[in-house]
């Protein structure tokens, strides 16, 4: 993951948990709406999700349909993105590629969040040696450059675990440290605020305090992180597929398509151009949305 700078994370806004659902998120949405770039980002993401879900309807041809007679056609009215070496309609393949990207984004970030939120919460809220241990382990994971760690895990387990789930798990696994660190830092700020003390004084149990007061108010930076992380994950999958250790050969996935098109790029540049642009557009959507969320959740910009 990109190393996230904690000073750029928004400061969580202290409100009672019950108010969180009404005033805080409503306010965030209002502010977000005003941010044009963020809305563009949201739009891109929506288009992506719809395309992925409705792929069979959007794609004019099945993505695997080979027809060597029409291979390597440049873009024309029947094949908007041309065809690849095996005569497959490129536009359809690009459309189906969105499915891989979306599912990687959701699943891997989901894994990262599950691990990261739990460990971050324990470390931040309970402190002490639990905190020390968790943060040490996180440091170890941080020491691995992201791609390298994922690469190693994939190559090692590549024979025993089916590739696609392995990809999700490996990518999701190596990101937990960032999520944990952000969530922990957020919790540290929130847990000492007065209303938490008040809840404690009223005899609320740790569990109750943690889930109803501390965690909801610490979520803001994590949400920003998750959005941007989705973009990073998509880029990582593309990079791995490009290197040949990502999705299995033949799957319509953008990174893989760039890799396969590389050797023909001088004569058929569209083979590299369109999947690449799709990656750029998709990730850009998440980045813009993430930035917009960060700005709209920053209490200092009210």
């Amino acid at each position: 993951m990109q190393r996230i700078d904690p000073t750029q994370m928004p400061v969580p806004v202290p409100t009672a948990a019950s108010e969180v659902s009404v005033s805080l998120w409503g306010d965030v949405w209002l502010r977000l709406k005003k941010n044009r770039l963020a809305i563009i980002g949201l739009g891109i993401i929506l288009i992506l999700v719809l395309t992925a879900i409705l792929a069979p309807l959007v794609a004019p041809y099945p993505p695997d349909q080979q027809n060597l007679g029409i291979s390597k056609l440049s873009p024309n009215s029947k094949h908007w993105f041309g065809t690849d070496v095996l005569g497959r309609d490129y536009f359809s393949r690009v459309v189906y590629g969105s499915r891989i990207s979306i599912s990687i984004g959701v699943v891997a970030v989901g894994i990262t969040l599950v691990i990261g939120l739990i460990t971050g919460a324990i470390a931040g809220y309970f402190g002490g040696w639990a905190d020390a241990i968790i943060m040490r382990v996180a440091d170890i994971f941080f020491a691995f450059p992201f791609i390298v760690g994922v690469l190693v895990m994939i190559t090692v387990l590549g024979e025993t675990i089916p590739r696609l789930p392995l990809l999700f798990i490996a990518i999701g696994l190596f990101g937990w440290a960032s999520a944990a660190r952000i969530f922990r830092s957020s919790i540290l700020q929130v847990k000492n605020l007065e209303y938490v003390e008040a809840a404690r004084a009223m005899g609320a149990s740790h569990w109750r305090i943690l889930t109803r007061h501390v965690m909801p108010n610490s979520l803001a930076p994590v949400i920003v992180f998750a959005t941007i992380a989705t973009g990073t994950v998509i880029l990582t999958e593309a990079a791995l597929s490009f290197l040949g250790v990502g999705v299995p050969v033949g799957t319509p996935a953008w990174g893989l398509m760039v890799s396969e098109g590389k050797s023909h790029m001088t004569t058929e540049p569209w083979l590299v151009l369109f999947p690449g642009l799709s990656i750029v557009a998709t990730v850009l959507g998440f980045i813009l949305l993430g930035d917009g969320l960060r700005d709209s959740m920053d209490p200092r910009l009210r």
Binding site: I140, F146, I147, V152, T155, F242, L243, P269, V280, L284
Partner: protein, 312 residues
């Protein structure tokens, strides 16, 4: 101050040990049989595989294997490459300088362009330049490094053939010109992040009270913005750039593959494709070490940059 350095050093050691152990865990403990690759075409012969198992200590208990490995490591022995049958330390020793050189040039690009873009963006807030930078940095972060490399190769290598804009797209044989495209590709994302960080930090700093004091003293605008503002804003920015150096060494796998740059990243890539474990481990350890050492150096330098830490 010395205490600070020593403390950081001590913290690094368990991290390094933990990371190498994690690596070892992945490579040797998890399922998968290296003798398959080691044996190559003769791997089906059980005798051959037995010999290989003996040679590589694959039948020993895990902790023995780890112990042997760490001992060899500390002596600088990274084993022998399966693929090339040369000592890994030699292979990586040849490759490392190339990775370092590329990383240094990339850092230079990142630092210069990133900071300048960020400062201009902050000083001329909401201007055309500012909007341009915001959009450009967002887009740059979204562009996959390998794709950028390919696009640059097409633009400056192939389409520009014969024109004065042509640049080398592969290998290191063209002197300084070989560095241009790979360095730009490698630095792209980092430059964008640095520009944004610089801008954000500058804006934060300019809102501080001491900037108001500086204006109230009648200092020129330049002195206020640069001597007081930028000097403070640069602290987190410079440390960030320093940390990027550690990431640049490890993250150059893609760039080195696309541009056939003979660095460590390329070796890793080839090793992965060929299941060449010793090279994978060796490279990863180099990345780890680089990352940890760079982090340590940055932490220490922070003490010099920020007087508040220095005089604790």
């Amino acid at each position: 101050m010395i205490r600070y350095i020593v403390r950081r050093l001590l913290q690094m050691i368990p991290v390094f040990l933990g990371a190498t152990f994690l690596l070892f865990f992945f490579l040797y403990i998890l399922p998968g049989d290296p003798t398959e690759i080691l044996g190559g075409e003769r791997a089906t012969d059980p005798v051959v595989r037995a010999v290989l198992r003996e040679k590589w200590h694959l039948d020993e208990p895990i902790y023995v294997q780890y112990g042997i490995y760490m001992k060899e490591l500390s002596q600088g022995d990274f084993g022998t490459s399966f693929r090339l049958s040369r000592p890994v330390s030699r292979i990586l020793g040849d490759a490392l300088p190339w990775s370092l050189k590329l990383a240094i040039v990339a850092i230079g690009v990142e630092a210069i362009f990133g900071v300048i873009a960020g400062v201009i963006s902050a000083v001329k807030r909401y201007s055309f330049w500012d909007t341009l930078t915001t959009i450009a940095t967002s887009v740059l972060v979204a562009i996959p490094v390998f794709w950028l490399g390919l696009m640059l190769q097409i633009a400056f290598g192939i389409k520009a053939q014969g024109t004065p804009f042509e640049l080398p797209i592969s290998g290191v044989q063209d002197g300084w010109r070989s560095y241009v495209l790979p360095a730009i590709t490698l630095a792209s994302v980092f430059t964008a992040v640095t520009a944004r960080l610089t801008r954000t930090t500058m804006l934060e700093v300019m809102k501080q009270d001491y900037i108001r004091t500086a204006s109230a003293k009648g200092l020129s605008r330049g002195a206020v913005v640069y001597r007081h503002g930028l000097r403070n804003a640069l602290i987190p920015v410079v440390t960030n750039i320093g940390l990027d150096f550690g990431s640049l060494i490890g993250g150059a796998i893609l760039t080195e593959s696309v541009f056939a740059w003979p660095g460590v990243g390329r070796q890793v890539f080839l090793a992965i494709v060929n299941n060449d474990n010793p090279v994978i481990i060796g490279s990863t350890i180099i990345f780890l070490l680089a990352f940890i050492l760079v982090n340590l150096a940055v932490d220490i330098s922070y003490g010099f940059l920020d007087p508040r830490i220095r005089y604790e």
